[in-house]
Amino acid sequence: MLTMPTQTYKKKAVDGKIVVGVADMAVTSDPDALLITYALGSCIGVTIFDPVACVGGMLHFMLPNSKGSPDKAKANPAMFGDTGVPLLFRMCYDLGATKENMVVCAAGGAEILADDGHFKIGSRNRTILRKLFWKNSILVAAEDTGGVGSRTLQLNVPDGHVEIRSKGNGKLLWPE
């Protein structure tokens, strides 16, 4: 069990908005909050929304696996998929969310142009996410991953809408 600095991730909205940085997360039960994260490159953004408990959560993780960096994972579990995703769920549970009611979305995991498989930074992030969700029976409601574009991801807690901005265009990711 990690000793996590969860207090860091309990953020208050400023002008209705909670900005989630790189290697960062936020959970809220503020019914008017907007959670937003910018510049998802190879990183992945995960959103959780529970309409019954009115809980929203967002994670922006950078790397898939913390195995080689236990100190970094202890200092900031949101940096890694394998520590950040479970923590995001637990923090949403702590606010009253339940697995049955959760709407989970994901975006990001882009690759650099013409990556011949040498790095696959984005792909490894996508893989850890699928593995975690599959092993824990989590269904993803909607996702927009891969490609080479940068993405902005936002979760509007009042109605649970998840939106993506990429290449100058916005689109509603959930509900589809």
Binding site: A39, I112, I121, G147
Partner: protein
């Protein structure tokens, strides 16, 4: 389509390097100066003086119980560290609000520039091939071409990335030039040394080792840029639409694990710098 001369004409709309900074960089890069002369130029710039005194008396350079004056601090720092300090100090303010035409929010260009700088410095230290301070400076300045294109766009946006094409090609199609090329010209316009201007010009396309223009410095700046792209530092409408040079991949990013370690390092250092900056800002209530 605009030509390169059109963009050069926008340089005078950019925040120029202050006279003191320009003179200091020019003196440091030529190596022709004496400490008294350097001290008198730096002392005309309050922010610069305070930065030199702060670093010169910091734990890394200071001696317990002693306080060093400006001239002593300059001697202790050395020219390479001083060049890094001067440009970092100056460009921080410029980058903070730059890049809107590329879809960058406030502070995003700063993160990309400083993130690249700390990674380049780290790669240079790890590889022991070239001066880490010089790598820091070149990576810090690598995207200054975007500042000029931003000014040229006058509130319009740079092209949205086509996922199948290198973004430099897309810039050339849209403008007739790309931000690396413009960055090199701007660096020359600022009288920065040729090697720094070339590192900026080649930061996406470093020449291969069998090319006469090959330079390890350019390779390291390129590798640092790639690490920033993955980390989402300073990426805007251009996304990750750039290629990794094969020889740089082999030399500096041979394994995914190495790349991931540099990504984690970038995030950690940037967070430390941001925390430090916040503490400095809040030091006097």
């Amino acid at each position: 389509m605009a030509g390169i001369n059109n963009i050069i004409s926008t340089f005078d709309r950019l925040p120029a390097l202050p006279g003191a900074v320009n003179r200091v960089v020019s003196m440091l890069s030529s190596g022709e100066y004496d400490m008294g002369e350097l001290e008198s130029v730096i002392s005309t710039d309050e922010a610069l003086t305070s930065a030199v005194l702060r670093i010169g008396n910091s734990a890394a350079y200071g001696t317990p119980g002693k306080t060093f004056a400006l001239k002593q601090s300059l001697v202790r720092l050395g020219s390479a560290t001083l060049m890094k300090l001067v440009l970092e100090q100056e460009m921080t303010q410029v980058f903070e609000v730059a890049g809107a035409g590329y879809g960058l929010r406030r502070h995003a260009m700063w993160r990309g520039s400083v993130g690249g700088a700390v990674v380049a410095e780290k790669i240079a230290s790890d590889s022991k091939f070239t001066d880490p301070n010089l790598c820091f400076v070149c990576a810090l300045l690598r995207d200054i071409g975007k500042l000029a294109i931003d000014a040229y766009l006058c509130g319009d946006n740079a092209p949205q990335a086509d996922p199948d094409e290198d973004y430099l090609n897309q810039e050339r199609s849209a403008f007739g030039f790309d931000h690396a090329e413009v960055g090199r010209l701007l660096a020359q316009n600022w009288n920065l040394p040729d090697r720094i201007a070339d590192a900026i010009g080649f930061h996406h396309t470093p020449p291969a080792p069998d090319d006469q223009t090959h330079d390890v410095l350019f390779d390291i700046v390129h590798a640092a840029d790639v690490v920033c792209l993955w980390s989402g530092m300073g990426i805007g409408c251009d996304g990750l639409n750039y290629r990794v040079a094969e020889h740089v991949k082999q030399a500096y990013l041979p394994h995914r694990k190495v790349a991931e370690e540099y990504m984690a390092f970038a995030w950690t250092r940037i967070s430390e710098i941001e925390d430090d900056s916040q503490q400095t800002r809040g030091a006097i209530a």
